[in-house]
Symmetry: C2
Subunit: 205 residues, 2 copies
DNA sequence: AATGTGTGTTACCGGTCAGTAACGTCCCAA
DNA sequence: TTGGGACGTTACTGACCGGTAACACACATT
């Protein structure tokens, strides 16, 4: 049997990722995208492995169970989200007020371009089982993001910085979820103006 | 998955209703509650029928498929939500400004007492398949609620009534989803004060 | 008494899913 | 050259799930 099929892995027409990188990274990347498209309970590990140009066995060698893979995906998503804070500092160095505007702008852009909502929130909706390991990942990520925003509002010179940060998060989270349930013509259309008006109101005193 | 509910057949601890009323109503009522607890994809039709004190055959005689049952549940949930508008009119007859405050108060109360989020939003998160019949039900209900609130803001004498209604919906939806993902200590704690301050700001001009 | 409707019971089908076993292959480092 | 680790392939298990078939029963109407 020397003439093994040897399946040229070049065929990736229906795959989400090429064979660039190691299987573990490809699996996580494919899983993130497929969870986004179909939901966590809406896609199977076999489909994820195949989309990654790999197979179920390799997936289970890297992740003990599906939940572990889910947690890894959520951790990666949240660590990518964390990048925004350094990006903002790079874009407007030493200008927290403009960074805050930049944060609003970025949120509005994402909501306008993608109606699928926040991966972390979506995961929280699906994984209700008490004590599910993903819940801690989600909660930690959301709290960290919240604290970063509070700190930014404080540095921007807002006196009631915590109130402002909380209101902004509510508006943005609400906008994402409205886009998801109502669609493009939801009440999230004026998100940016509303946020900026709020920032102005809080900046006056 | 490591966190499957896995209920034994003999366990009727989650028998939600007695045999009061006809099977159809009991099934819908049980389904709403079980969807709330486990998610739509997290509970099977058999468990729903059993919790309703009925059986799968009777369920399928009333609902052609699971999706039909889901749609019926969402319609019932949204029609119950609609009751708030007449309740507000009853509570503060002819006083739209106080009705608007009442709407905010009701939303804040519900968010404080229940961290499971909005059934319609949760369903939208789970049912992503293109053209799923539940999506129209969800969208219609959300749009109707939005329009009711816009109308209430207009009747309350707010000039930019549409902007105010949109901002309030974003805040409330964001608050619900933050409670769900972050938990009790999320940024939704000051929802009521934020909404009232916003109403005040819009009412001045 | 006859009939039809709504309901309960049991058993089954085909499919999917998470997870595992056993074996084969490839590549790299020693 | 050789050995080992990472990866691929196939096949399987056991559970669950959506949905259906066939039959039995209870009851109300006529």
């Amino acid at each position: 049997m020397s003439s093994t099929p040897s399946k040229t892995i070049a065929d990736n027409s229906d795959k989400l990722v090429t064979t660039l990188g190691r299987p573990r990274e490809r699996i996580v990347k494919s899983a993130i995208e497929l969870f986004r498209q179909h939901g966590i309970k809406g896609i199977g590990v076999d489909a994820i492995a195949e989309a990654a140009g790999s197979n179920k066995m390799t997936l289970y060698r890297h992740f003990g169970c599906k939940d572990d893979l889910v947690c890894e995906c959520l951790k990666q998503v949240s660590s990518e989200k964390e990048r925004i804070w350094v990006d903002l500092e790079d874009a407007y160095p030493g200008d927290p007020a403009r960074q805050l505007r930049g944060w609003v702008d970025e949120a509005a852009q994402r909501i306008f371009n993608d109606l699928r909502g926040c991966d972390l929130v979506n995961a929280a909706v699906e994984l209700k089982e008490a004590g599910h390991p993903a819940q801690k990942v989600i909660m930690d990520a959301k709290k960290a993001h919240m604290q970063h925003l509070v700190e930014l509002c404080r540095r921007a010179g807002v006196q009631q910085y915590e109130q402002l940060a909380q209101a902004l998060v509510l508006l943005v989270e609400g906008a994402r979820v409205c886009g998801q349930s109502i669609g493009i013509e939801g009440p999230q259309q004026r998100l940016e103006q509303t946020c900026e008006a709020l920032i102005d109101a809080f900046s006056k005193h």
